[in-house]
Symmetry: C2
Subunit: 394 residues, 2 copies
Amino acid sequence: MKFEVTYRDPDTRARTGLLHTPHGSIETPVFMPVGTAGTVKAINQSDLESLGVGILLGNTYHLYLRPGHELIRDFGGLHKFMGWPHAILTDSGGYQVMSLEDLAKISEDGYEFRSHLDGSAHFFSPEKAVEIQLALGSDIMMCLDQCVQYPSSAELTAQAMKRTSAWARRCRASYSARSAEREVQPETNSGLRISNSEPGPALFGIVQGGIDPELRRQSAEEIVEIGFEGYALGGLSVGEPKSATYDTVELTAGLLPGDQPRYLMGVGTPQDLVQCVARGVDMFDCVMPTRHARNGSIFTSAGRMAIKNARYARDPLPLDPACLCAVCRRYSRAYLRHLFVAGEMLGPMLATRHNLHFYLDTIREIRDAIRSGEYNSLRSKARFGPEASLPPAS
Amino acid sequence: MKFEVTYRDPDTRARTGLLHTPHGSIETPVFMPVGTAGTVKAINQSDLESLGVGILLGNTYHLYLRPGHELIRDFGGLHKFMGWPHAILTDSGGYQVMSLEDLAKISEDGYEFRSHLDGSAHFFSPEKAVEIQLALGSDIMMCLDQCVQYPSSAELTAQAMKRTSAWARRCRASYSARSAEREVQPETNSGLRISNSEPGPALFGIVQGGIDPELRRQSAEEIVEIGFEGYALGGLSVGEPKSATYDTVELTAGLLPGDQPRYLMGVGTPQDLVQCVARGVDMFDCVMPTRHARNGSIFTSAGRMAIKNARYARDPLPLDPACLCAVCRRYSRAYLRHLFVAGEMLGPMLATRHNLHFYLDTIREIRDAIRSGEYNSLRSKARFGPEASLPPAS
């Protein structure tokens, strides 16, 4: 993988770039829709392409359990399995083990857990997380890490941060060994491309440390020292106040190499995108646009709209009169409300398409504004809500 | 509405035609997907257009209860409400009252029933069925009728047939009176177009009479005598043997005017389409392709496929290797199976699109074969299953 910065905003840390992956080049800042189990819920791959999605996220935990990473590997990787010839980033599975499994036990060696599907016992070590992601044929893989909720004790936060560093070393070593192995036997491998002319897949390190500046500093130092193709900011949007999120993003992004991509995991609202791009973030993922869509919560330029509300029963306007998406060009609020009230699948389908368009459009506007030197004026636009103070460029 | 026969098969009663409606001209034979509550479940309107759908069916019963025909009328009709500028046929609501409502009571005056949504009391008279369909702004409306299940006593079948005729007279009278009313005040109406140059909406009569040839003959005579823009064959595919369905279709179609469209309600399989076109049917609707899709039952040129079956877990073939639909061009059986097993919405979405394509493609092949004089050879193709004996042309 190769990353090039194409434009830097003079007033903030915002920048545009190109992320060259084995499955296409992606303009950054980028928002990656979440395709949990090999599908972005309620939308098909061709509609994702229409929206301009060039990279999406797959969840290692879910794909490992069902249909199984070996099945996907035998199929030629996740791209082929799900009919998605563009880029894919996979998480390590650790976060979902912890958030979904009551019975998960964590030790120095990894996560011991039981499947929520059939109760079977499983173990995710750093090496296993790499092995699964290689089987999936992911373009960007993530190290196994330990994320703590907010608030957590200083002791637990520090311990998780240290463990994340130790696991990052093991992931790096395992990934390098396996890549070398595959390089020697290129004919046995379809998931990796090692030639010098084409970009190969990448492994990203993750910085933890809660909202403690000292722990974040130490984590960033340790992770950067190991050396990765990109760096993620983990453990945010886990219950902490928004100002702490932004402060931690600002601090951490400043500690990461300026010529490599920075990925803020699991964050956030459209406002978060614009605020965190200003703090130096290049990549985002979040279930918010798709999950909210399925609950009838619609992102619009005037704020969030609960489409099931009776006030929309006879409303002939599109979801967002300022939106040019396929949904807003064809359907009314009254129709969308009817679909949700009647429990029709088309409700979540159309809402998902609109919400993703809103996110993709937001991040596209952000890129355009950075390139045209108008990032400051973009920040004051209504769609990004009440303006927060932005940090200076660094 | 205007109907013109464009080609007649020399060997059977099969024919192609053009049905000119206020919302476009439709080639017949035609298959109409069922859009129960203002949406064909699990597929959006623009994908229906891609499939070549020019007319779909709306269910009066469902739309009357939710969101309500008056809301839809105030919105400018069902076309505007659901963002569907093409033709719409609505049923009368009677069939669904009987099949969905345990508490429905039928009398000479209509159906008394309670809403399955909130228990509220309602009444569908022949006049009310017309009023609701006019409010919906339907292009083709159906008379209120009484359908009996198979088997039913000769007495009940005869009584329902006679009642259907009586109601047909009341529907015709009510429709004519309301149309005349609207013709006088064209400025108050957006749902009807009465000018001579543009086709107006149509009211279809329904022939009942179970599988009794004498009752069918009497029903057809009575309904044709009242006079409608088209004629439907009701009360079939309600439990009777397939041979009885075909025999009744053949008998009844032969009793209907040769220059008007014939619509076989709620039937059937792809095989039924080819068999009943040969017997003179021009229009079909059926929930089968969409309902089966949501259950993972896939129509293919080699027969029906239960995609959830474990045998497809690693199958890299498309659902139907002979199919050129967007789903078969992109996705494998293994992926579809995974989506269904994981309960992902994309499973029903893709299966619906494929199954509808299969039906639309089947009916397109039927039209092409009639036009090119190759209908007999089409009938022997594998996709239409074991060949049944076809009746001679009449």
